[in-house]
């Protein structure tokens, strides 16, 4: 199995699907000639040409709106937001046109929106956001957030083949930092949770970039056996896997990189507090970015984004509970 980076795995998925299905095309700002701000689409223009690898005007609402139009006449557009932060500029098209279409009139909208998200490199308030909770709160949108290279490829292929609008969150901080074995050829990763590490004293539930922080934080914590559950998909949310982990571990820490209020972690916590209460051996702790824009200066950014040490500290306290 070839080893590749998280970023290469995403490119690989796009190439596989474009080779296998001529309806699939990619569109976005600076994705063709330049290969994308992060070079995720590099090389695709040469192989597939400028119709299927389209540099668009700088207009996010138009990118999503035209993708919807292309999708309902049979295409399979994959849109790139240059940074996930810009999803605010096409929010209406996404939540009101794409999200509600099938429920209202039985018309499927098979589009994928790729969202390079997250912080950790002094991107500042406008290049570090994690918008997943906004999208989760919009009925009709699926939301996935892989943490490994293999899942990045498999979930993107699954997203492209899904008949619904799928928001694909790719964490910028994993692009080149994370590598792993990635099966060649096309395969779909199910939109369900994955146990990133077994354990039964406590479970840390998280997704995306924070999976790696959680693994590091709990690697060797006073010999405790700590499970790490990688949600992989936020909509649909694998509630059964969450509840099983709670039942088997009893103690729960939910970790988010997003701003805390109404975040994905809040939803996970509320599901457990409602349906998993009996299994709880203690409070459901949350680690997340406070409700503050992600600051630019390294010291400030570190103070805001959840650090390995923050997660470890929270776990240590809860173990002692």
């Amino acid at each position: 199995m070839p080893e590749m980076t998280y970023l290469q795995a995403i490119t690989d998925a796009l190439r596989e699907e474009m080779r296998g299905d001529e309806r699939v095309f990619v569109m976005g700002e600076d994705i063709a000639t330049y290969g994308g701000a992060f070079k995720v689409t590099e090389g695709l223009l040469e192989e597939f040409g400028s119709d299927r690898v389209m540099d668009t005007p700088m207009a996010e609402a138009a990118i999503v709106g035209t993708a919807i139009g292309a999708a309902v006449v049979g295409m399979r557009p994959v849109c790139e937001m240059q940074f996930s932060d810009f999803v605010a500029c096409c929010f209406d098209q996404l939540v009101n046109v794409a999200g509600k279409m099938h429920y209202r009139q039985g018309l499927a909208v098979p589009i994928v929106i790729r969202l390079p998200s997250g912080g950790g490199f002094s991107g500042g308030p406008f290049h570090s956001q994690n918008p997943e909770a906004w999208l989760m709160h919009a009925p009709g949108l699926k939301v996935v957030a892989p943490s490994t290279a293999a899942d990045a490829k498999g979930l993107l292929i699954a997203a492209i083949r899904d008949p619904n609008p799928v928001c694909f969150l790719e964490h910028k901080n994993l692009y080149r930092r994370i590598r792993g074995d990635v099966p060649s050829g096309a395969y779909e990763t199910p939109m369900t949770a994955r146990v990133a590490r077994e354990g039964d004293d406590m479970v840390v539930i998280t997704y995306g970039g924070m999976v790696w922080s959680a693994l590091e934080a709990t690697e060797d914590l006073e010999g405790a056996s700590i499970r790490v559950l990688d949600l992989r998909s936020l909509v649909p949310l694998d509630e059964e896997a969450i509840l099983e982990a709670v039942r088997e571990c009893g103690k729960v820490v939910v970790v988010d990189e997003a701003n805390a209020t109404c975040a994905a972690g809040a939803q996970v916590s509320s599901v457990i507090a409602d349906r998993g209460f009996e299994f709880l051996d203690g409070p459901i702790r949350r680690v997340a970015t406070p409700d503050v824009p992600v600051a630019f200066s390294p010291s400030l950014e570190r103070a805001l984004l959840p650090q390995v040490e923050d997660i470890r500290e929270t776990c240590r306290e809860l173990l002692a509970y």
Binding site: P57, T66, D92, Y103, R104, Q105, L107, V109, P139
Partner: protein, 366 residues
Amino acid sequence: MAISTTTTAGGAGGDDPEARATAIAGEAPPAADADRLTIADRTGLLRRMLEMRGIEQRAMTLYRQGQVPGSFYDGFGQEAVSAGAAFAMAPEDRLCILHRDLAAHLIRGVEPERIFAQYMGRMSGLTDGRDGNVHFGDHRLGCVGMVSMLPDMMLVAVGMAMAFRMRGERRCALTWLGDGATSRGDCHEAMNWAGVQRLPVIFVLENNQYAYSTPTRLQYAVDPVERAAGYGFPGVSVDGNDVEAIFAATLEARERAIDGGGPTLIEAVTMRMHGHAAHDDMAYVPDELVDHWRGRDPIELEERRLVAIGVDVDSVRAEVAAELEQALARAREHPMPAASTAGDGVFCEGKAQALGDGLGPWSGYA
């Protein structure tokens, strides 16, 4: 043909939209495009307009009787705009139909019975009660139902045209927009994108002088038809109450589009003769304006033409009336959606189905 280029359209009343409206509308009704439209075509256009008005008048009554939930919008006095434009589109073309454009649904093949059922929130094969009033479109007939946010559908239409061009298909997308909708950013993003990619898409600007209670002078400084040039494609103004003029302008735009000539903005200058919705008495509209346009009713205008060539319009009226009575009676039989199904269908579980073809009503496509 009452088609003026943007320049002369600008001339007709210049920057005062209401003056322009009156000026353009004041022009003499064009002769029918005889070598194109057959008598059957023209009678078909009249019939669709009569059906639209008949359905909306009955629905308004149903609304006042409490049988139509929510709110109710109609296109009284604007029937020519949707009828004329939709009539020029081929079955394989694709449409996003707006809230004053009921005749377009009829032309694509939606039966009046299902429209009544839609209004009443009953099972209809359109939205089956999930969405209401004008927020529908039969995707099997090549139409995407509008969302409330205006003019979001312009971008969807541009995207459909983009796919046609990518696949090298001789097809065209069309959508309508209102004068108020021209102020939204999505209108600009759509026109700019369509222009830079020279896409086969037609935008029909339905300028009915008001956006809810807001007159066009608070909406823009220069009539939006003038903007087309700035996007690199033609903008034409037509008498929005002349169904044959709109048909001709749309057919011309469609031919240009499928030949690779790019988009067209067609401004149909008309007047919203009813309130914004059933609850609105439009007290804010000057009487003179309404009186002027009442004398230019699009249906009467077309009837006069057809009477002149010997068409028995009374029997057409009678047929439509009878048809609608039966349609309404059958619609009342449609069941209400079962509460137990309220949560179904948020996501597509099966395979994505692309839009289907509509009817090709114009004899040119027969």
